[in-house]
Assembly symmetry: C2
């Protein structure tokens, strides 16, 4: 067990903090980060954005650091992690080694991870379950199973390969009688800006990832080589104790990575950049920024700076997919027509001082609410998606028809499909609703931010909420409280 | 907004990876780590352990690094974190600044954290909710709310002070119209080795932390200074959307830290080390190791090495509490009597080769199972508790009385109350049950390990499971499967 003595201050193995070889890392880090920064600037310009505007100034650096951090598994060695925590475990000193070997199955369940999809460069979420059967009196520190899984998750991946790599690393590190990995993976769908697609999105509190592309994969070696083996039976039984039913969810899918929804967008006769440019319903692409091929080349350079070979067959379409995704959030013209609304007709109203409105009329109105309107947007600080639901409350004169939900949904789309921050989104939706339908508006936006999970923060399960109020909702706490109660009632009942 | 340009490669602010000032940190780190290592060796020896045995060799280093990592908040500046991500957010360019200021309430919910209790040095779990109302067009990157909370969580804390410090840091960093923090905190109870106490422990899959000491605290500044304010009404309403009902759970507790269960152990007339030594039911303390005062002094030195002043009033009893806790896990004499069992009487059986047993008799037996037997233990690799439930299955000759649950509980206690690893615990319980009641035994241990959460791994919600089998359960897959199904049925129905 000489391995136990090595690396006294090799902090990376224990706490994830690097304490050695920092001079070397620094130089490589600076170079790779700078290269990615440059590429991200090209992408932002390709979206028609001003890279010098306040919210975007540091975005290229943020994206670069997040990507490097999110793929640091390329620069970590799983073997070191395992070997620093192998313990001889002989059983009772009295020698009743009756059970044979070191004992039975050992598993760690529900390890939350994220990884980056090699087909589209977007992060995907992973629930990882690892098990092994010790042999030769070797057991490994339980947290190392999680650490090793993370090394391979922090690379550009595809679920089956991820499972295989974790398994193989543990197999060669621990030399167990058998080792197995079960992964449940969730990938963001490729949302279209039409209503039908959004029926998949649910209130973030549900956290059931409905509407996400999901696969379960499993892989095993040694006693787990055969999927019908007794060892697998034990493993799956222990997962069932926690409500994880892999047999039922287990999806057989080909080794090619068709689980990524972006793959299905590939035109059948796709070659080169043929299907790169998919303009969003009616939006005209920017004429001033870099061309699509330049954006695709920039993403290829990012792959390179992460330590991958962009010409590897898995990556051939990746830059194009990522650009397709980004292009969805191209800065729209503000005077465009939005699903039948002509914003120009509201411009005079936009200039009006809304404080002039006679509030006595509004007091006669009735509280209307439209809840759980789904939306997607792109965080302008990290170029990562955030999504969730919007609740809109407004007062309407008696007898008037309530606003159609589809119109509110259109407004949410209009402000969502661009580089955004949630605070601004809430305000913009509120102000647009006010322009069109009246001055007493309240908007609550509830969202999950991919950037809270996938860049070193890793706070799985957090959600954000923002409130924006105008008119009566600003001045009358009772009106605001009434609307919040309406949302609460609806949410509590599973709405 | 000059702050936006500072610290181009100050990686700590964005990704938690330090890239600067490493030479300085290194020296301090090495010194502090070495000091803690020395202190942990004293503690281990005080528990009667051999610090050179295989499983403990690296424990002092592991504990030292975990504690330094877990208290790195002392060496971080919240102000830098906030100021690196302040964004001017003026609202719509068209100037419809109707809502006043930058908009309404912004909150981040369900941030999972852990912290260290200043009264006993054990980690406690935190669910943190942060909100603020922007002012002067200043909004902060959403993930920074989580980052700042973490800076103060990674210190020795007490819930109310933690909430106050997070709040104050955000207040001075963002200068908002108001800022508020709600914390839900769970502290491990001080378990006694009698059965009654253990009725609090539940299957780890419930994750409802029943049986833990829980407090909810809230603190606010600016518009949140008054607990009955409109701003608080909005915040609490948004928490309700996610099922967090703070009003109901809100516990008023005095500013002194009586929430820590270890405080209640202080003798009323406690002075100095009067109540330090609490031997565990019948266990005789080691006579060879360091004295209790030496152990208490060692813990005081650890506090010092974490950057705290052990003479601060909050820390006066902390070393004693931690030693009290540790002493619970003092290595017992193997020949002690265990709640009425005399192990000596089973020694001859222990020596017997169990393979000689006539299995034809056992085939007549009936599967018995005793499920969800609670246990506590101490991870010998990290000196942190792990706990959960044990399921025991065995075959018993027809007509014989089933084993009393209390006896199995005693065996779980006997093997749990010491420095352990889960794999060994499973095997030792199995072998003891076999010695006493028969050779066909299967044990499943399900546990939550504090060390998986509180030392940089931070995988909240993971759980481990281990299987150990003997006799018929080793040779007959049907028997094993039958028992696993029994556990599954019981677990699924909420047992």
């Amino acid at each position: 067990m000489g391995a136990l003595d090595e690396g006294h201050f090799n902090g990376e193995l224990e706490n994830g903090v690097k304490l050695i070889n920092l001079e070397v890392c620094d130089e490589e880090e600076v170079e790779a980060t700078a290269a990615i920064e440059g590429a991200v600037k090209v992408l932002l310009q390709g979206l028609g954005e001003d890279v010098n505007r306040e919210g975007l100034k540091k975005t290229p650096l943020r994206v670069a650091k997040a990507l490097r951090e999110g793929t640091k598994g390329y620069r970590q060695k799983a073997k070191d992690i395992v070997q620093s925590a192998l313990f001889p475990e002989a059983g009772l000193d009295s020698g009743v080694g009756y059970a044979g070997g070191t004992g039975g199955l050992v598993i760690v369940r529900d390890i939350d991870l994220f990884s980056y999809c090699e087909s589209c460069l977007l992060p995907f979420q992973v629930k990882c379950h690892v098990g092994y059967i010790p042999s030769g009196q070797r057991v490994v520190g339980l947290s190392k199973l999680s650490r090793v899984a993370e090394v391979f998750a922090r690379r550009l991946q595809e679920p089956r390969r991820l499972a295989e790599e974790i398994c193989s690393a543990l197999d060669s590190g621990i030399k167990p009688a058998g080792v197995a990995v079960v992964l449940q993976c969730w990938h963001i769908q490729f949302p279209e800006a039409d209503r039908n697609c959004f029926s998949q999105i649910h209130h973030p509190s549900e956290m059931n990832m409905q509407g996400w592309s999901k696969v379960s994969v499993r892989f095993g070696l040694g006693l787990f080589a055969n999927e019908g083996s007794e060892a697998w039976g034990d493993f799956l039984a222990l997962l069932k104790f926690r409500g994880v039913n892999v047999e039922k969810n287990h999806t057989k899918y080909p080794t090619s990575h068709h689980w990524c929804p972006f793959r299905s967008l590939d035109a059948p006769s796709c070659n080169g950049h043929a299907s790169t440019h998919i303009p969003l319903n009616g939006r005209t692409p920017s004429r001033t920024g870099p061309s699509q091929p330049a954006m695709v080349a920039a993403v290829a350079m990012i792959l390179n700076s992460l330590g991958e070979d962009p010409s590897r067959k898995e990556f051939v379409s990746t830059p194009r997919h990522f650009v397709q995704w980004l292009t969805k959030f191209r800065r729209p013209n503000m005077d465009m027509k939005l699903n039948g609304f002509d914003f120009d007709q509201f411009k005079p109203r936009l200039q009006k001082n809304m404080n002039d409105v006679d509030n006595s009329i509004l007091d006669q109105g009735e509280l209307q609410s439209e809840l759980n309107i789904p939306f997607w947007s792109l965080c302008e600080h990290h170029l990562l998606p955030f999504h969730g639901v919007i609740h809109i409350g407004y007062f309407q004169a008696k007898g008037a028809e309530p606003v159609e939900r589809s119109r509110l949904q259109s407004i949410a789309h209009f402000h969502g499909w661009k580089l955004q921050v949630q605070e601004r989104l809430s305000r913009q939706i509120m102000e647009t609703v006010a322009m069109i339908f009246g001055e007493d508006v309240m908007v609550v936006v509830e969202a999950s931010h991919t950037c809270m999970v996938s860049r070193g923060i890793e706070k799985v399960g957090t959600s954000t909420a923002t409130i924006a109020t105008m008119g009566r909702f600003s001045t009358d706490p009772t009106a605001k409280a009434m609307f919040l109660q309406t949302v609460s009632d609806c949410t509590a009942s599973g709405g």
